[in-house]
Amino acid sequence: MIETVRLWAIVVLVAFGLFFTFVSAVGVIRLPDVYARAHTASQTDTLGAGLALAAVALALGWQSATIYTVLLLFFVFITNPTAAHAIARSAAESGIEPLTSDDLEEGERR
């Protein structure tokens, strides 16, 4: 019984993780400029990673490996937004203009 619940929990967590990563992939591919992409990268992807890592923690049970997964989650939560910030800052420094609604009216200029 408890095994079945665990199995389904894992399946659901992995599925959600995949889904959010998929969303972030779509975002990275489809969004129009670097700032918008940085946005999806730092948030959706972190969430997807978190869910998948939770599934791994559940599967491995309460071993020391679970501590690793929690640590992983913690570090991903810190480093991912930092990296996104660094990239956005670098983009701003090198003079990349954010895409505004005016630009959109001129047409697709990705």
């Binding site: 570090f75 937004p81 910030h85 660094a86 800052r89």
Partner: protein, 156 residues
């Protein structure tokens, strides 16, 4: 240095590095000391320790970090590492064995083979690697000043 490295990093990156760097250092040390029974070892550990210093250099500026790390420390790390490694090997030879024959330590001093291996891993490779990674970084960052007067390399 050909450019003034006085610019300090943005608050976000500074904070993130402040949080991450202790963990990186600890993890590098953990890996160095724990290589015998789990994957990972002194080389990886030493590289991570070295990279921690690079991380700090990015956050706090390359020039301040260089001043903070004195030359003697790095020379000591690298030369000391090589000396420890060879010293362990030669000690085995002095005890009548071959180079790096840890069995000798066990037979003569009762030290388990494992500790001989740990000595060269931790005292030797980890020190060398950490020292050299830092050296490579600072040496490349400092660049090269041509001695010729017609050198065209005044970048900046």
């Amino acid at each position: 240095m050909s450019y003034q490295d006085t610019y300090s990093e943005s608050q976000v990156i500074l904070t993130a590095v402040k949080i991450i760097a202790p963990f990186t250092l600890t993890y590098g040390l953990f890996m160095t000391f724990h290589g015998a029974d789990t994957p990972g070892g002194s080389f990886q550990g030493g590289a991570i320790i070295g990279v921690t210093v690079l991380m700090l250099a990015f956050a706090f500026g390359i020039e301040p970090t260089r001043e903070w790390l004195r030359n003697a420390v790095l020379v000591g790390l690298v030369a000391g590492g090589v000396a420890v490694f060879i010293g362990v090997g030669l000690a085995a030879m002095a005890l009548g064995g071959n180079f790096l024959e840890y069995d000798r330590f066990f037979e003569v001093w009762g030290i388990r083979q494992k500790w001989g291996m740990e000595a060269i891993e931790i005292g030797g490779i980890a020190l060398i690697v950490a020292g050299v990674v830092i050296t490579l970084f600072f040496a490349t960052a400092a660049g090269f000043t041509p001695t010729r007067t017609d050198g065209r390399g005044e970048d900046e």
